[in-house]
């Protein structure tokens, strides 16, 4: 019950100031995905999030940069929610953040390859050193 309340309250966290920016060095997880166009013929892991280059105009309008930051924040939420789900014995692929990251990877896959009924993909979260923190289940290109 407390988890439900904290999740509901978190939706409104912009109402509560918390001025603690960048205080600790916490490794930022990387998001990778790989694709199997047919069968089990998996390709290499690819980086899903690349920071766009800073330009002078991005001081005024930085849609791509802020999307990148929001996606990175989504990945960090997934890391913490996966930990909580594991402790509570919940299915990780039912987490909202899992589904959002899945939608993100779906966009990457659609941009990289033509749609195909046999196409499958998987994503993983990795530490900066490369160690895998979490691997998703295999998804179809639905």
């Amino acid at each position: 019950m407390s988890e439900i309340w904290s999740r509901s309250l978190a939706l409104f966290r912009c109402l509560v100031p918390a001025w603690r920016f960048f205080e600790q060095i916490e490794p930022v997880p990387s998001l990778h995905y790989r694709v199997a166009p047919r069968g089990d013929d998996w390709g290499d892991w690819r980086n899903a999030l690349t920071a766009p280059a800073r330009t002078p105009s991005s001081l005024l309008l930085n849609a791509a940069g802020n999307l990148h930051l929001a996606q990175q924040s989504l990945v960090e939420h997934l890391v913490s929610e996966v930990e909580v789900a594991a402790e509570l014995g919940r299915a990780q692929d039912e987490l909202v953040s899992y589904r959002l990251v899945c939608a993100l990877i779906g966009q990457c896959v659609r941009a990289a390859l033509p749609a195909s009924p046999s196409l499958r993909y998987q994503f993983r979260l990795a530490e900066s050193g490369g160690a895998t923190l979490f691997s998703s289940r295999v998804h179809g290109s639905e």
């Binding site: 439900i4 309340w5 999740r7 509901s8 978190a10 939706l11 409104f12 966290r13 912009c14 109402l15 509560v16 100031p17 918390a18 001025w19 603690r20 920016f21 960048f22 205080e23 600790q24 060095i25 930022v28 990387s30 999030l49 690349t50 920071a51 766009p52 280059a53 800073r54 991005s58 001081l59 005024l60 309008l61 930085n62 849609a63 940069g65 802020n66 999307l67 990148h68 930051l69 929001a70 996606q71 990175q72 924040s73 989504l74 939420h77 909202v96 953040s97 589904r99 959002l100 939608a103 993100l104 966009q107 900066s128």
Partner: protein
């Protein structure tokens, strides 16, 4: 300038600069429609189940405002309201902008851009109070004080928190953030900040600025240079981390702080 005129000018400038900041943020969100559309990342169908635990009237309100089409319309109206605020013609729009600010936070499961969204709420809460009670000098003063105090706390709390960590005092934290490829810092800046001594000096500059920011309340003579340093600080954060929204959101609070700094005289 007499006291009342100075008060009115501070509220007006806070409104103008807040309007600019909010208009830019809204244009960005409209540019990103693909990300929150019905086949985007933050699609309504994936987000709505998380609202099941909310009170029914609130859940109903969110279901009216946050699916793709109404959210696009809400952003369109918000852009008009923000432009109105920026040109000083939007009397009474701050409460509406405050509602949209919270709605955007909920749409992205808390915030879209972290602290800048929260700071937008602070600016708009203060401006709403000033707009709802336009004839009350007390309400105008309370609005500016609220914004000025929160601005000061934003730096001071962040600075004192960082000061507790050895990584910040040694410069290792800053060095780590600069070299972290996730933020996309420009190569020339990474090279310019390469070196233990440089990052330690810069780290202590940040700590000194943030922890010393309450001195801005000692008078305009301290407030103006600290606000100028604040702008440089946010421009640096934009270069390093891409946090462009922080530049405009925090700058919008400086007129309120300037007014607060004159209270001590």
């Amino acid at each position: 300038m007499n006291e009342l005129a100075s008060l009115r000018a501070a509220v007006a400038w806070t409104g103008i600069l807040s309007g600019v900041a909010l208009a830019l943020q809204t244009i960005e969100l409209l540019q990103l429609r693909r990300a929150w559309s019905d086949d985007g990342i933050w699609r309504w169908a994936l987000l709505a189940p998380e609202h099941r635990q909310l009170l029914p009237p609130l859940r109903w309100l969110l279901a009216c405002l946050l699916p793709e089409r109404p959210f696009a319309a809400l952003l369109g109206l918000r852009l008009l309201a923000a432009v109105g605020l920026a040109v000083g013609a939007g009397r009474g729009v701050a409460p509406f902008l405050l509602v949209t600010q919270v709605a955007i936070g909920v749409r992205f499961r808390g915030t879209f851009n972290g602290g800048s969204d929260t700071f937008g709420v602070i600016l708009l809460a203060g401006l709403s109070l000033a707009e709802l009670l336009p004839a009350s000098a007390t309400a105008q003063k309370a609005a500016l004080l609220y914004i000025g105090v929160q601005l000061t706390l934003s730096y001071f709390v962040a600075g004192v928190t960082k000061l507790q960590y050895a990584e910040w005092r040694s410069g290792r934290a800053l060095s780590s953030f600069v070299r972290d490829g996730h933020y996309g810092a420009p190569g020339w800046l990474v090279r310019a900040l390469d070196g233990e001594k440089r990052t330690r000096v810069l780290s202590w500059c940040v700590l000194g600025f943030e922890c010393g920011f309450p001195l801005a309340w000692s008078g305009p003579g301290a407030c103006v240079p600290l606000a100028a340093l604040g702008l440089c600080f946010h421009l640096g954060a934009w270069l390093l981390f891409g946090l462009n929204r922080f530049v405009f959101a925090w700058a919008a609070a400086y007129p309120a702080l300037f007014w607060c700094s004159q209270l001590v005289r």
